[in-house]
Amino acid sequence: MANETTKDSAKAVAEKKASERRKKVLNIGIDLGTSRCVIACDNGVRTFIPSYVGFPKDAVSRKMFGRDVIFGDDAIKHRMALNLYRPFDKGQLKHGDVPDSNTKEYKDAVSIAKTLVKHLKELATEGKDTSNTTVRAVLGAPALASRVNKKTLLDIADGVLDDVMVASEPFCVAYGLKLYTAALIIDIGAGTVDLCRMHGIIPTEEDQITTLNAGDYVDKVFFDLLKKDFPEANFTVNMVKKFKEENAFITNQNEGVFIELPVKGKPTKHDVSKELKQACRAIVPEIVEGVRKLIATFDPEFQDSLKENVILAGGGSQIIGLKKEIEDYMKEALGYGRVTKVEEPLYAGANGALMLCRDMPDAYWDQLRSKESERHRND
């Protein structure tokens, strides 16, 4: 009798495993950015949304939207009627480093970020039923994200995605480009600039540098300069951010760059080339210092190949003239340097995360799932 029960139990487990195997798998690479969330999936869906989540302020706005939560551009557009949140800051969850994860503040922040991840999953699955699908994802994290922050990312994905791994964002970029060795990745986001040298192994702390003067910092500097130089003009950070994204440059071009800003209600053109250039330059010193440090501390025999292979990724890599600026600096400080911009700066991280997700053997995912179950049991 006991033998039969054991046999039945084993059979049930085997059937469950077989059923899992029969499930289709959807792989997603996710870049949870301070400014934008980007996904790349192996069903062909690739998209991004600004990292904003908005909740209607009252019954009237709830009625107007016909929804309980608004995302991305829509949320920014209707921000007056919404309680608007940007869950990530400096490349990590806001309040992600609070010592006690039982605080209301932390739980609220996780809940908002979870809502955003759910929305990304809906975009990835195109709203289709996923009950017979295993949704796997690799989440990109800042290069030097703390253990607490990485665990926070797992908490956010918990219950939304079936299997999740976290990987360093610049490593994802390198993996996507198949640059496993002798490459230096510079990933310029809104919250952080991540530098990472690849030399055939998973980058350690010594191989990575994260600086906090990134895209948002450029916006702030630009905003402050405009306030100082054009005190009569009315504008918001959001307005100058949008303008910066379309016009950012640090070259010595002679053409003026004009922005139309209201002065006493009347749209007025302002030449902001000087301010924009100065703001964009603000992030360069830390980047080039990081490049110098990572190259100078690398094995001298391989420094040349590292100099040959500096890769510029992320939205900030679109600043016109940045590539040349870094190359000029490397020539002056290091003798030589060749910088290459990735083909798809916005998607480079998510693409790499997707490749990681797809390449990861099923057995690895099984191990992870067992460990995750164990963690839940202990909790």
Partner: protein, 214 residues
């Protein structure tokens, strides 16, 4: 915008203000008339405003009508840019009659990355010179000739011919075997072959993630 330079015919197409496409045909002549070509949908669509997101799916295409007619050539080539943030590169054997189908082109992206950059510069060069739009073949003035020589030299140095030969081999393979990366969601796709160096990295990533759950 239309131009004929040496053995290349180039055209840039605009749809709204958000998207530009560039077409290049090798060894073809421009003739007058208007035909329908195929370009790719922008990742910002009117209905997206309601949904609150921008999305782009490679398999969906948008028909546009460029003012361009070409005789059948060896390749049709397209580059799509969106607000300077995203570039897709597509190449298809044959002339416009073949059309370029985004859903059949995703597998080519990475292999065409470098060539895309070279040709992207090529098209930017043409745009800066403001070649006239119209049905006539463009007359190249001396200043333009100089620029054209530079472009020709650039294309030669990019070893375009060699790369196209290589790409042709890939295309042949795709035509014979199809593309594995598109189609309906959740399609069963065999796990890709992972090289040993990548396997080590994957094992390390796994270990890091197991540690995170300890």
């Amino acid at each position: 915008m239309l131009g004929k330079i040496g053995k290349y015919t180039a055209a840039t197409l605009e749809y709204g203000t958000l998207k530009t496409a560039s077409l290049l045909q090798k060894g073809v002549n421009i003739v007058s008339g208007t035909v329908t070509g195929t370009a790719f949908r922008s990742n910002r669509q009117p209905d997206d405003e309601h949904n609150g997101h921008n999305r782009h799916k490679l398999s969906e295409t948008l028909k546009i009508v460029p003012r361009l007619t070409v005789e059948a050539g060896k390749y049709t080539y397209a580059v799509i840019e969106y607000a300077g943030q995203k570039i897709y590169v597509f190449l298809k054997k044959g002339g416009l009659s073949t059309g370029i189908d985004g859903s059949k082109s995703t597998g080519l992206e990475s292999s065409l990355a470098n060539i895309g950059e070279s040709l992207g510069n090529f098209f930017r060069g043409i745009a800066n010179l403001r070649l006239p739009i119209g049905n006539n073949i463009v007359t190249v003035d001396p200043q333009l000739s100089e620029r054209v020589s530079h472009i020709e030299a650039m294309l030669t140095s990019a070893r375009l011919e060699d790369r196209l030969d290589g790409i042709e081999a890939i295309l042949r393979n795709i035509e014979q075997n199809g593309i594995a990366t598109t189609g309906s969601p959740y399609k069963d796709i065999d796990k890709p072959e992972v090289k040993d160096d990548a396997k080590m990295l994957l094992a390390s990533i796994l270990q890091t993630n197991l540690d995170l759950r300890s």
